[in-house]
């Protein structure tokens, strides 16, 4: 179980501020993409985020365009999960296809503060924040399979090889 620092933001965080449109037309390396994560929302994020950190936000996280870089840049930046009150549909899929964990847990969003240290137990469906424990419902089995394999394409490759 990995722990990390919380980066907390508001509602309706859209893909333009997660990964600016001006970079979407260049095919970038993972490190470069990580360097632009949340650039127009929190200029300090990309320089200070550590592996295992968690992004926490309100409802409709990732609304806006279909750009996959919005999920990919957070994963490449080392973010272990995004916890939100709700997710926009395309971001949610992109995150799972990229192997980035997404947790819908409104109680945790209300109960966790910015900069707090938290840990996530995915198999038990629990978020541990000091004395506080928040439960979240597991994703459907088939979606967990995708996440555990590292995303959609690795999942189907393993499936074709008979490893799953």
């Amino acid at each position: 179980m990995k722990s990390g620092r919380v980066w907390k933001y508001g509602e309706n965080i859209n893909t333009d501020v997660i990964f600016p449109g001006k970079y979407t037309y260049s095919v970038l390396d993972p490190e470069e993409m990580a360097g632009h994560a949340l650039e127009d929302l929190d200029p300090d994020f990309a320089g200070s985020v550590q592996p295992g950190d968690v992004v926490v936000a309100g409802k409709n996280f990732g609304c806006g365009s279909s750009r996959e870089q919005a999920a990919a840049c957070l994963k490449f930046a080392g973010v272990q999960a995004v916890i939100a009150k709700s997710f926009a549909r395309i971001f949610f899929r992109n995150a799972i296809n990229q192997g980035l964990s997404v947790i819908k847990c409104p109680e945790a969003v209300d109960g966790i503060s910015d900069d707090e240290k938290i840990a996530i137990d995915f198999s038990a469906g629990k978020i541990l924040a000091g004395e506080k424990v928040f439960s979240f419902p597991p994703l459907p089995d088939s979606v967990i399979g995708l996440l555990e394999a590292g995303g959609l394409i690795p999942y189907t490759k393993k499936k074709l090889k008979g490893d799953i």
Partner: protein, 416 residues
Amino acid sequence: MGQTVIEKILSRHSQNDVRPGQVIWLDLNVRSARDFGGPNVVKNFEREYGKDQVDDPSKTFFTFDLCVPACSIRYANNQQICRKFARKKGFQVFDVDQGIGSHVLIQEGLASAGTTVVGTDSHMNILGAVGSFGQGMGDVDITFAYKTGKTWFEVPETVKVLITGQMSKTASPKDLTLFILKQMGTRKGALRAIEFYGSAVKSLDLSGRITLCSMVTEMAGIIGFIPEYDKTFAEEVEELSGKAYSPLAADEDAEYSDVLTIDVSGLEPQIAAPFLPTNVHDVSELCGKKIDSGFIGSCTNGRASDFAEAARILGRYKVKEGVMLKIVPATRIVYDVLLREGILSELFKSGAIISNPGCGGCAEGHIGLTGEGEVQLSTGNRNFAGKQGKGETYLTSPAVVAASCLAGCITVPEHS
């Protein structure tokens, strides 16, 4: 037990009798990518699948619509990467001359009622306007769809929305759409399919249906359908696409997660102020706010009737000195209609800037970008901070954009 529209479509394409919450493997009639996302799809495909062929070249497409023709070397390179890939794999490109991909798929009869379509466009659910299941997806999803012809999908619940009452005569389909968005917010239809019923939506033509269905994305919904229709709408779709219009209807005993009623009686023109599409007001509340530019176009309001309405409001008048009015038809076919009917000429004489077909400024493409401090009225669908530049974008109808460009400030169009 009966099924909703989306449950019927997904059942037909997965050989399952699907129910909400199930995760299914869905067969796709159309797998597409744009100049946005397309180059990453090529990169992903070649990295993951090497020299493999796509699943079915006759069902695989690129549709270039964002920056058309390319306005930078970066875009030109990206589009060329896609063209070369399509030639190698033997599939069709709807190139930079054709216009907005989702509209092109409708006109080509590729996205017809009951079909399943994916593309790298978050407004691909616009296809609900013709009873097709369209869905915007990211690069990995599309790469996978190119290779396998399938995608995974969690069957959503459906919300039934009954629209009651008569709008005022000055209200357009965009006003109806913005008002419904205001009532629905980003929660009531979130991650669900929406079926709209009632005489105000039943009577909508293709253009009006496209406007409403496009902004289901802003409601955080999966897709919107308008199951009831007039004969004239069916004829319009059939004439455009060359295919019979036979949409799937919901069963009488279909199960809905929610049934909502929205009363539009007396509805007046609406406008969404920066920086959220749901920040909707009566236009009359914002009258007098000075504007710098107007944009008419986008996948939401880029049809011939949208420009005809703007031309009607502009009449023989010219836009106020210092105000830019930018016109971007959705497709080449729309452009042709506007040319033949003399509407482009009328708009031109009123001082409008006329662009070739495409998405315009929505995703930092061509026409419709704003500078710092610029106030723009747009018929588009998003006004997030920074989306079209550093200025402020207000979302409204073609009529309000036209009337406001004449006045130089936000104005309610006069009814004639």
